[in-house]
Amino acid sequence: MTEIDVELNGETRQIPSSLTLKGLLEHLELDPRKVAVERNLEIAPRDGYDSIRIEAGDRLEIVHFVGGG
């Protein structure tokens, strides 16, 4: 299986190539309903997780709600 380099939350990581965003979240064991994703500084809309394909060099931020004041 070929792999590609992407930047995930500020760190370079190798992930399987030709993943959709939904596939990536599954690969990372994250519940898509509990996170939000920014891809190359653009919000990845929730209803597009199935169709967005992750490409080499993508910069992804995956965030969630944590305690705060």
Partner: protein, 262 residues
């Protein structure tokens, strides 16, 4: 006999109604479980939350939303850690996608030593967010001029600090807070500085529409009990404000009649 005292009207922020005038933060608790119990004891219906990177090395870490249900409580995503309008917009766009709602808390801080808001940048960020369709509750200094500017920029609530964030010093400048309340047509909520129940009551007695606090509850020895105390303090302060206090006098005035003494 006068008619029975009417119940207080709800707090209305950006068209949403809340029976509780207390808003609590979700930071600094020992666990999310303790946080959830404190929230229940406080009676608050709105909580502030932060937006942060998911820990990818341990996806099984406990998650806030597994303890506090976003369907039951109004989550107010904040911009803590943002120092520019652009940072704030970027963070809240992600929050909107994560949560699916537009009500947010804007805070643009300056120096970590005092965490005072950078008001020029806060105002600019508020304008940017309003343009993007957000309903913006704004953490701000206790400056009546800037408070007015924020309201004119479309802020749906003005949230002046009572004292520096996390300091627990109580309301340091009641004169300014009252001036802000007098001028504002949107809710004024004291955000930051409350240390104990009497501080919350003081804020409400000044005529604030609500109080937002985090550390006063989270860092109390018994956070759940302090949450309950804050619930009563906010209600007590609000009722006292609505009732209208007696005038202060320079000398004593006996409570028992002087006539008919034996």
């Amino acid at each position: 006999m006068t008619a029975q005292t009417q119940d207080d009207a709800p707090l209305v922020v950006a068209g949403r109604s809340f029976n509780s005038r207390l808003i609590i933060g979700t930071g600094k608790y020992e666990t999310y479980e303790q946080n959830a119990r404190a929230l229940e004891a406080s009676g608050a219906e709105m909580i502030t939350v932060a937006v942060r990177r998911v820990n990818l090395s341990d996806p099984s870490q406990p998650r806030l939303v597994d303890f506090i249900d976003p369907k039951q409580y109004t989550f107010l995503p904040n911009t803590a850690g943002c120092f520019t309008g652009e940072d704030a917009v970027r963070t809240l766009r992600l929050a909107r996608e994560a949560g699916g709602w537009d009500l947010v808390k804007l805070e643009v801080l300056s120096d970590p030593k005092h965490l005072y808001p950078d008001m020029a940048e806060t105002l600019r960020a508020c304008e940017m967010l309003v343009k993007e369709g957000f309903e913006v509750m704004v953490y701000c200094s206790d400056d009546p001029v800037y408070a007015k500017r924020l309201e004119e920029a479309g802020a749906c609530a003005i949230m002046p600090l009572g004292a520096p964030i996390g300091s627990g010093l109580g309301i340091q400048n009641p004169v300014n807070i009252r001036l802000i309340i007098e001028e504002a047509k949107v809710p004024v909520i004291v955000d930051a500085g409350v240390g104990t129940a009497s501080d919350a009551a003081v804020g409400m007695e000044l005529g604030c529409d609500g109080i937002l606090m985090n550390t006063a509850i989270a860092e109390a020895k018994d956070p759940v009990r302090m949450a309950k105390a804050m619930k009563h303090a906010v209600i007590g302060g609000r009722e006292a404000y609505l009732a209208g206090r007696m005038p202060k006098k320079r000398y004593a005035d006996p409570s028992s009649p002087l006539a008919g003494l034996i």
